[in-house]
Symmetry: C2
Subunit: 275 residues, 2 copies
């Protein structure tokens, strides 16, 4: 198989359909990125401290807004803490407590506070929404570098947005001060090859990518995606109508059920003005 | 040079100091990630449509919260629009208008709105802060996959947080409806090898990485970083005291100067309740 056959195969899987454009130059990193799937079953094998350090070095190599570096990470290996994080996550599977390591990404202005005090200055930017938005953005940029790094090493990953179900409990468990905000988790381990999960198709590229000017969503692309995703799930004996599930996932019920109505309070307690 | 010599060299550059732990297995993708530097000078060479499509396929391969896929991207190639984005960016260099392509990443609930209307449902989750935070997070996760993909292809990138200086103008330029929120840009092109910029050191890993329990910032690590970054800049005949600049970048002045006090208004107009 040439490298471009491989590219086409990965792209076909990613969109659940035959590619109608020609991929150009291809490489190992694109293979890693395009091969991503979320992993929720792990082999009973540790992730070494050196691996965690390499993964975090990759995360720190990501761009940082104005080089402010206001994201920190707690690497959780302790079995008791992971068990409690599993409770916070309220997931169908036990992939949080069984993961060898769970990285918790935090918006963290601790160094800024220390330095501001030293210089007798105010951190006035924290009064504005932008700084909080930027915190979530930078946490995403940084954690995704970590995810790609881990996957390049043959490890599997899964994001844990469910850590926002109870951020105050996560703060308590990790001894985070109230001004350090845990925004998302990333569980890492050795993938159990018996887990039945493949590359999940995404929306057709033309539903997401616009050239120079934005265009309204095209219903036929959404229908095509419903079909592609249902075909994917049918391989596992399941059926799913994405467009229907999607709308219900954006209902108020989903916030109330997961308790995420408290996210704003945690940010306010952390000193974000959100103006 | 063995692959581990290369690893050590990259890690030494990334932290601006001699590594005091042993990197484990290393690979090409870690090389790409650790070699990152922001590029602001481009060769006069186009980025092909196929390259943009591969980069966006990489972005779409990133994890997406509950597979909601609420981030879209506008690939700007038009010279006039890039010139206007340069005006929005108010940068020292002209790296926005001269980049062959600028990707603008948007929080986009257009498909959700269409489907909700079709099903007669409400998108109640948008009332809560979590959904906006998650939008910024997912935009970061997705755009970073794009950045790594581009860099793996030998292209250079630079993030444009400065698009938030005037999001309403960006909406106007790209014909974005008010409910589509442009959160960050990513300029992509062929790096001009004469640009004098290297791998910028980051904070010592122990200032960012905690094991199981959070620890307060250690002033000696901040001082060490001030030294490492100043040593880096002195190679380019410049000097910089990070800790001082950092605090001033978090002053209210930095928000007022860049006009980012309007970010919240744009989100509210887009239908985010931010409760």
């Amino acid at each position: 198989m040439t490298i471009n056959d491989n590219a086409r195969e990965l792209l076909n899987a990613r969109y659940g359909t035959e590619l109608d454009w020609e991929p150009g130059e291809w490489n190992d990193t694109l293979n890693v990125i395009l091969s991503h799937r979320s992993v929720r079953r792990w082999l009973d094998e540790p992730v070494s401290e050196e691996q965690v350090r390499s993964i975090v070095a990759a995360a720190q190599s990501a761009p940082s807004s104005s080089n402010k570096q206001t994201v920190s990470v707690v690497a959780v290996q302790d079995a008791e803490i992971k068990k409690e994080l599993q409770v916070v996550g309220r997931q169908m599977f036990n992939h949080i407590e069984t993961a060898p390591v769970v990285l918790i990404w935090c918006i963290d202005h601790s160094i800024a506070r220390l330095l501001a005090e030293r210089e007798g200055k105010e951190l006035g930017a924290l009064e504005y929404f932008d700084e909080a938005g930027l915190g979530f953005l930078d946490a995403g940029i940084m954690s995704q570098n970590a995810a790609i790094a881990a996957e390049s090493m043959g490890l599997g990953t899964v994001y844990l947005g469910s850590m926002r179900n109870d951020m105050e409990r996560v703060q308590e468990l990790l001894h985070l001060p109230t001004h350090v905000v845990p925004v998302v988790g990333l569980a890492i381990g050795h993938p159990d090859p018996t887990e039945r999960a493949g590359i999940k198709p995404r929306l057709p590229q033309d539903a997401v990518l616009h050239w120079d000017a934005y265009g309204a969503p095209r219903p036929e692309l959404i229908d095509a995606y419903d079909t592609a995703l249902d075909t994917y799930y049918s391989r596992y004996g399941q059926h799913q109508l994405w467009s229907h599930q999607f709308v219900s996932r954006l209902g108020a019920e989903s916030i109330i059920k997961t308790n995420r109505r408290l996210v704003r309070r945690v940010l306010e307690k952390a000193g974000f003005g959100l103006r």
